[in-house]
């Protein structure tokens, strides 16, 4: 099993300092749990956030030095020597951050993609069992054919940061062919404005019932039924 984790030159949204996005750290954790060789992959020059990401468990990171559409550069690099598994976070932090890169990459490579992955199992017959995190803590089991792209859930377990790993990372630059350039996004920037909160009946229907002073046994039964309906207690 060979896994590749896609890394961005992350930036912390509060401080503006280099910081790997939470989802990419979770992706490293998933890659480590899959076993086998794990490497990082970044399009662009080595960035400070990459070293920090390595501290979470990457021994080596390849930086692809080419100009143009990163999706094209990644697709060309990955199809030259395809790994079994490509992992990414849900979205980068600090660039244009559309969250579309894994999907565009999957489309171009023709690989399957699953998003919101919180855990992965062991491969059987070329299929990889994965667990997907859904809202309200629900979990869904799925399986996906290799090679594939997985986007880690932001809340998937994150491996701890180890300074000793961060300082030992082998970061090498790979010169690659330039790809077609993409036009910069056009648009206007305006300050963030808080949207009105959803209240009352406009809130998403979570199901459930309101019980007024119920009998404890009745209340417990209703709670259990509700949790089962959400898939949090099994069948």
């Amino acid at each position: 099993m060979r896994s590749v984790v896609l890394l961005s030159g992350g930036v912390d949204p509060v401080s503006g300092r280099p910081a790997p996005p939470r989802g990419e750290i979770a992706a490293i954790g998933l890659a480590l749990s899959a076993g086998g060789a794990v490497g990082g992959l970044h399009v662009g020059l080595p960035a400070a956030a990459l070293g920090q990401a390595a501290g979470h468990g990457l021994g080596q990171i390849a930086c692809l030095r080419g100009v143009g559409d990163p999706v094209a550069i990644l697709a060309a690099h990955l199809s030259a020597a395809p790994p079994d598994l490509v992992l990414a976070g849900s979205r980068a932090c600090g660039g244009e951050d559309s969250g579309m890169l894994p999907y565009l990459l999957a489309e171009r490579l023709g690989w399957p993609l699953l998003a919101g992955v919180v855990a992965i199992g062991t491969v059987a017959d070329g299929w990889l069992p994965v667990t997907i995190g859904l809202p309200l803590g629900a979990r869904q089991d799925a399986r996906i054919r290799l090679p594939c792209i997985l986007c880690a859930h932001d809340a998937a377990p994150a491996p701890p940061f180890v300074f000793d790993r961060a300082r030992r990372v082998a970061m090498h630059t790979v010169a690659v062919a330039d790809a077609e350039t993409i036009a910069p996004l056009e648009g206007t920037e305006r300050p963030y404005r808080a949207r009105p909160r959803l209240i009352g009946s406009a809130a998403p229907a979570g199901g459930g019932r309101v019980l007024d002073n119920p009998d404890p046994a009745e209340a417990a039964r209703v709670l259990l039924d509700h949790l089962r309906a959400l898939g949090m207690l099994g069948a």
Partner: protein, 620 residues
């Protein structure tokens, strides 16, 4: 007869020297320490002055130790002298007298644990110590006496046999622990890792920078400690003064400094002698096999023991062997954090925020000045110049501590001082990261802070946070940042002394001052806050534990972010001590202490910072 006595005493002394060399061979497997054995020349002074200064805080223990140690060493030396010089009865009589004093010392050693053993003392092999001491002193003392009066051979031989048995027992007690302190103490005092404690100001509390390029960062196995530190662990006499002073132990947290040091001593050995003192509360015994290359944490030392320490140095202050417990804790934490990433979840979050946001709480640096925004304190741009740089610290994000900062700024304005802050260029000083063992994050924060400070001109730094004070004053110089750093109580004390602030004593509350560890024990500043309070309040009382021996609030060393299990809370214990002193108001001088003591629930004395009390008393 002379040859017999010389053979007996000399033989035991020689065996003790060999024992010392055996121990030394083990300590030398630790990291090398420069000039260690050359430090042997300092030992007599360090032993007779510095060790005795601590021992003498308990006069009964000091008497016991002086008589027992003096009797054993002095009597043996005199007896050998009598043999070698072929001296007459006078020297023998003197030796008998000194041995007799040692015998009384042995009696006092026995009385220490009989009829009732104080809980902080260790039992086990220690129960045999008085008998061994008594046999050595009485046997050799009688032999000397018989030599002095010229008695026949038989009584002398019997006495020498008794003394010899005592000597063998004492040597056995070196291996078992109780007598090891005598041998290991010499090596530790010779190579003490903080020589600054013995000279000049008598204080040396800053942590040493770590070379981040070294292959092994911090301590994972006993051999990662330096040789003298290993000797320090063996030098522990298990007197339990540290555990009596430890706030974490008192609160039922999983730490006992004595058990920690004993565990580290045992960690060097495949088969350590049994420990017969109190363990750390609720810590399961680990059955791992020790050895110089065997991991310590998780093998022989439970990992919870590491994270409960508040780094308050109360144990260090009390230790008669001058052992540096906090250095050992931080060295072990460095190994766990830097090499393994094995911190507690809460601590990992604080460290991540320190790395990525330069602020352990993860808050926006530009929001630090919000609490004093209404006072329009100027922000000093790079290249700017002012008299005093006001370092706000982490407490500035807290609304409660904002009141203290506003009081301080108001007082500084009244005194006509010219000052400014760093604004959003003030990063965290790195105190929390460093105490949690993350030396890498500390050094990067420190480098950023130092470059921000070097870009500006000012005469001194003033801060209301003793942790900042300690880091900037005592730990930045090793990284190239040297400035005059003053705590706000020191500054206000100067202003009152110079008449730039005039105070009128306010009647009302009975005030007790709670010393912050990082101001008192770490920096020795215990008088200025008290002078201020005496000038501002009519009624001041002292808690039983105050000044250099004050009890911690529980807020230091990253303990609050480390999810530490406890039976009770440390600030609750401290507040109980304030109540016992009859205080209706506790004066504090640290954002950590303020938050911890204000967190005590139920009816309790009020909490006010010294600056707030001074502001309430200022008349001009």
């Amino acid at each position: 007869m002379r040859a017999l006595i010389a053979g007996e005493i000399g033989g035991i002394a020689l065996a003790a020297v060999v024992g010392w060399l055996v121990l030394l061979a083990r300590w030398l497997k630790g990291r090398p320490a420069a000039g260690w054995l050359a430090g042997l020349r300092h030992v007599p002074r360090r032993y007779l002055v510095d060790v005795h200064h601590v021992v003498a805080r308990r006069p009964a223990a000091a008497r016991m130790h002086a008589m027992a140690a003096g009797g054993v060493l002095g009597g043996s030396a005199l007896a050998l002298l009598a043999v070698l010089l072929g001296a007459g009865g006078i020297v023998w009589a003197l030796a008998a007298l000194v041995f007799g004093m040692g015998g009384i010392g042995a009696l006092l050693v026995w009385r220490r644990r009989v009829p009732k053993m104080p809980p902080a003392l260790s039992g086990g092999a220690f129960l045999w110590l008085p008998a061994a001491l008594a046999a050595w002193c009485v046997g050799n003392g009688l032999a000397a006496l018989f030599m002095a009066i010229g008695a026949p051979a038989l009584p002398v031989i019997l006495s020498v046999v008794l003394g010899g048995l005592g000597g063998v027992a004492l040597l056995r007690l070196v291996a078992l622990g109780p007598m090891r302190h005598a041998l290991a103490g010499v090596a530790w005092l010779a190579g003490h890792t903080r020589p600054g404690r013995f000279s000049g100001k008598g204080r040396d509390t800053g942590l040493r920078p770590l070379d981040l390029a070294a292959p092994r960062l911090g301590v994972l196995v006993p051999a990662d400690f330096s040789g003298p530190e290993l000797a320090a662990f063996d030098a522990c006499i298990q007197c339990g003064r540290c555990e009596e002073a430890c706030p974490a132990f008192a609160a039922g947290q999983r730490l006992n400094p004595k058990a920690l040091i004993q565990t580290l001593s045992g960690a060097m050995r495949a088969v350590p002698p049994p420990y017969a003192g109190r363990p750390a509360p609720s810590v399961p015994m680990l059955q791992g096999k020790g050895g110089m290359g065997q991991p310590i944490v998780g093998n022989v030392l439970h990992r919870d023991m590491l994270w409960a320490c508040t780094t308050c140095r109360a144990c260090v202050e009390e230790c008669p062997m001058l052992i540096e417990h906090v250095d050992a804790v931080v060295a072990l934490r460095r190994g766990q954090t830097l090499m393994l990433g094995a911190t507690r979840d809460g601590a990992a979050q604080a460290l991540r925020a320190s790395r990525e946001r330069a602020e352990p709480g993860g808050r926006d640096l530009a929001a630090r000045g919000d609490m004093i925004a209404a006072l329009d304190v100027p922000v000093l741009p790079p290249g700017g110049e002012t008299d005093i740089l006001l370092w706000l610290g982490e407490g500035a994000f807290d609304a409660r501590y904002g009141r203290t900062l506003r009081a301080l700024v108001t007082l500084m304005r009244r005194a006509g001082l010219r000052f400014a802050t760093l604004g959003a260029d003030e990063v965290d000083c790195g105190d929390l990261a460093r105490r949690l063992g993350d030396e890498a994050t500390f050094q990067s924060l420190a480098a950023e802070a130092i470059s921000a400070l070097k870009a500006r001109c000012f005469t001194k730094i003033v801060t209301a946070d003793p942790h900042v004070l300690h880091v900037l004053r005592n730990e930045y110089p090793a990284l190239g940042g040297r400035w005059e750093v003053q705590h706000h109580t020191g500054l206000l004390d100067e202003l009152v002394r110079d008449g730039r602030l005039r105070l009128e004593r306010r009647e009302g509350a009975r005030v007790a001052y709670h010393d912050p560890c990082y101001l008192g024990r770490y920096n020795g500043e215990i008088d200025a806050p008290r002078r201020l309070l005496d000038a501002a309040c009519t009624d001041r009382v002292e808690m039983a534990r105050h000044g250099m021996r004050a009890m911690c609030c529980g807020g230091g060393g990253g303990s609050p972010v480390s999810d530490v299990d406890a039976v009770t809370r440390i600030p609750d214990l401290r507040m109980e001590q304030a109540r016992a002193a009859g205080a209706s108001l506790v004066a504090v001088a640290c954002p950590g202490c303020t938050a911890m003591l204000e967190g005590v629930t139920g009816p309790r004395p009020e909490i006010r910072d010294v600056a707030e009390l001074v502001l309430a008393a200022v008349v001009a």
